[in-house]
Symmetry: C2
């Protein structure tokens, strides 16, 4: 199965992924959970009906888009309620509808979005763009605001392919899987495969600075964008006349990561590459995470870079390996996954092997590589049954410069262990590196403990402790999950109040009535929507 063979999945509200794909918690994992004190939580509760949009609002939306593209039924609204963080899933299970949209609208073009924003701005109706809906940072849940969800799924076109420049113009509502299928017809790929790949969309990738599992070879999504079109309440902005320019600040990079707070990205021009004909994924064993980190740093700094480069720490290696014998019969150590796609795979593979061997690595064959590749989108599926069992399971991530990473990892782990143990639920904390740069890398943590009686509060406390540890160790609050509402305070602290004031001024120009994603990314303003 290639990436583009994955069907476009209709996600289930409140549970990750394709409902047809049933995932069961392995027996060994269930056994391990018992040691964490996991108990079955209360059964899920049906959502509490909540008032929808008023007649005036509905009439306005219908006037702009047509009645068939305005939905107010509970099922549609529930399916557009929040994203897929663990607190989101827990709130869904509790039937919590406090952040349910008042209506869901379906614009079909850039002009539709532009007209919608102008009309909503005039009437001060808050709007929240909803593309894949896979936010894990509260990016779809403006606080204390009635809002309309703008579902971008009708913006589903591959608009143009420029084979000479190797660019493709793709609309914002195209899911990652659909984008790959559309590009495959022309022989191209984006090479962007985040764990949310089955659900997330092009517009969401751009608005949140997504980074995929093949980022070592294909780069981050923000590095693929060479042009974009932004609809704002004040009008349209089109950017990107060349790959790079010295004509002022790179305003594309001001829009990328703006999370719908400055406008709605309706299409992007993306760098594309020929579909790879060769591929190989293999496992490498290192004695320790530190040794593995030094080895992958060599590749990141001196090359050559594989397409996929990941390194699990000791805990993640021990838990995630289906077959512990693969690292030599319980001898410990850590596992790296090294993947290659595209031209000169064999040559690059041999060169990488030389570097990794010199750095103390031992090849453990294609088995672990293929196991990882085939399961690369499966991890989020495991979360729902684990939550059903009473486990608290969530991930968080950061990035820093290489010299800061050891302390960053230690401090975040310590903060999570300390916070959750202090709440009576000692956790297991796993960590891996999955995105590397010449000057640094990401760290991705997975946390598992028993749920307390108030698991949303429980995680909020643990997450706050982790965020403080990240700041103290000099890392960034998020490498590829974005800010949303969950990271907003940490974000303000990270860039400082003057930079936030500058961004607020940009928002004031583009969104003078503050209707766009109020409270997401930036602190809410006083002139809030009704």
């Amino acid at each position: 199965m290639t990436e583009s063979d994955l069907a476009v999945v209709k996600l289930t509200p409140g549970r990750w992924g394709d409902p047809a794909q049933v995932v069961e918690v392995p027996a060994a994992a269930l056994e391990a959970l018992k040691h964490l004190g996991v108990r079955r939580p209360p059964a899920p509760v049906s959502p509490v009906p909540r008032a929808g949009a008023g007649d005036d609002t509905i009439a306005l939306l219908e006037k702009v888009l047509g009645a068939e593209y305005v939905k107010t039924d509970l099922e549609t609204r529930w399916a557009h309620t929040r994203g897929y963080s663990t607190p989101d899933l827990l709130r869904h299970r509790a039937g919590d509808t406090t952040d349910m949209p008042a209506a869901v609208v379906y614009p079909g073009s850039h002009d539709d979005v532009q007209a919608l924003l102008a009309a909503c701005s005039e009437q001060r109706i808050a709007v929240v763009p909803f593309a894949g809906g896979t936010s894990v940072v509260g990016g779809l849940a403006p606080q204390d605001t009635q809002f309309v969800a703008v579902d971008l799924s009708r913006l589903d076109r591959l608009v143009a392919v420029d084979e000479v420049s190797r660019t493709a113009t793709i609309e914002a509502g195209v899911r990652g899987t659909a984008a790959e299928a559309l590009l495959a017809e022309h022989g191209y790929t984006l090479g962007h495969f985040p764990q949310s790949y089955e659900g997330a969309s092009i517009g969401g990738y751009a608005a949140t600075r997504s980074s995929g599992q093949s980022s070592a070879g294909y780069g981050r999504f923000d590095q693929m964008v060479v042009g974009l079109t932004l609809a704002t309440p004040r009008g349209t902005i089109e950017l990107g006349h060349a790959p790079m320019s010295a004509a002022g600040p790179d305003l594309r990079q001001l829009v990328l990561g703006s999370e719908g707070a400055l406008g709605i990205i309706t299409s992007v021009v993306l760098r594309i590459r020929p579909r790879p004909t060769e591929r190989s994924f293999e496992g490498w064993r290192f004695e320790s995470f530190d040794q593995g980190l030094a080895a992958i740093r060599r590749l990141a700094q001196d090359g050559p870079l594989p397409t996929v480069l990941r390194l699990s720490d000791e805990a993640e290696t021990a838990i995630n390996l289906a077959d512990p014998d693969v690292l030599g019969g319980g001898s410990g150590g850590v596992l790296a996954i090294v993947g290659f796609e595209g031209p000169r795979t064999a040559v690059r593979r041999a060169e990488v092997a030389e570097v990794l061997t010199a750095a103390g690595g031992e090849p453990v064959g294609e088995g672990p590589g293929e196991t990882w590749r085939q399961g690369r989108y499966r991890a989020p599926y495991l979360r729902d049954p684990l939550l059903d069992e009473g486990a608290l399971v969530e991930t968080l991530e950061t990035a820093g410069f290489w010299s800061a990473l050891p302390a960053l990892k230690a401090r975040v782990t310590e903060a999570l262990v300390s916070s959750l143990s202090g709440q009576g639920t000692p956790p297991i904390v796993l960590c891996h590196v999955s995105h590397v740069y010449e000057t640094g890398a990401s760290l991705y943590f997975t946390v598992v403990s028993a749920q307390t009686d108030e698991p949303v509060t429980q995680w909020r406390k643990a997450k706050a402790a982790a965020g403080q540890a990240i700041a103290a160790a000099g890392g960034t609050i998020t490498h590829h999950h974005a800010v949303g509402t969950d990271h907003r305070e940490a974000y303000v602290a990270e860039v400082g109040p003057l930079a936030i004031e500058a961004l607020q001024a940009v928002k004031q120009v583009l969104d003078p009535n503050g209707i766009l994603n109020p409270g997401i990314l930036l602190p809410p303003r006083l002139n809030a929507t009704r």
Copy 2:
């Protein structure tokens, strides 16, 4: 001679480069100029003395920085008058002092700059940061404003080297040559070698999104910056906790290219690399520019990339080659320069040769490569004696996506020929590609004609025609020369009025009294300085 062996050069006001390096126009070139109708222009005129800063202003500046760091003598002010565009040089020769600073100050630290900006903002004294002083776009000449030049040459420290993360923190006033010398002591290089290398500074590189001749291997300067410190009238902004982040827009990319209009960059954290031990430069011949363009596009899109990759068109190839026999005895064709530095030079060179050969290229040996390498900073030296002879000689550059480049080149050439011929001075127009990306490349034009009696106006008209051609062909108004005052109108048209309004709002927050580089990059505001 390696790059870091170049001494830090004290530039001559009004003439490019190290006065010790005398460059004469080759006899063949003088002969060619006669055919263009070149006549000796009037002799240079001494600068007209112009009123300096008032006593209140001087007292204020001395209070903030100390009397020894405030200069008002004519020589110092003249040396800080404008940059090195051809109109700048012509105005210097005409003794024009209309854009001479009222005083020149020399802060010695970030805190000095911060205090200076706060004080000048309070008193509404316009300031223009001056680091290398090598702008070729009017970036040092605010219009209709008395101003103080802020010479950053005392911010001359290599602050820190992080060998694990491969980053260096360098102050804004460090010249390119000095940065290389300082890093060489630690075994590192930036790899940033623009033609202005002998004069330009780290802060200028950052503020203008400079791109060096080795950009294929080392990237643009804005791609090297992982952190920065910006002094603004409202306070300090520090950015960069990780190589990349999903925490909001990439605000580093808002500061890079802001050309002193949003604040003064006082230091940057840069990605560094080990100094190369291997190096080779070689020439390749192609039948035509189109064939060569297709060949270098192959390398840019499918790799491997050399460190230096340049392609001259037919006209530039014919004029610039010292020895026409190098391309096979007057058989025509175009020359590409392909350079390699760093690890695996031999392997990469062989792989590149395979690609270029398959694309129709013929290797013409290391001779042309070494000739280019040794003369890589010499071209600007030739401009002064050519101007002295009565030639108008200037360069301009753009970039676009690959599919747009042929029309972009044709339209700009046609616009230059048409404008200058229409003024009675038919030009020679040369072009090369010197910066490549997966999705596009830069085009760099050199124009030579006879001067009219009003050469500044003559060039302004030709440049305007070229700018219109760039816009019509979908290119960017500048790939690596920045906006300054010369490109301001074209820049506003390129990004659109709404984006400009957003940038003006950022400026209003950071520089509420509009003292920073008024009229540079952004149109002047109403609340102008005194």
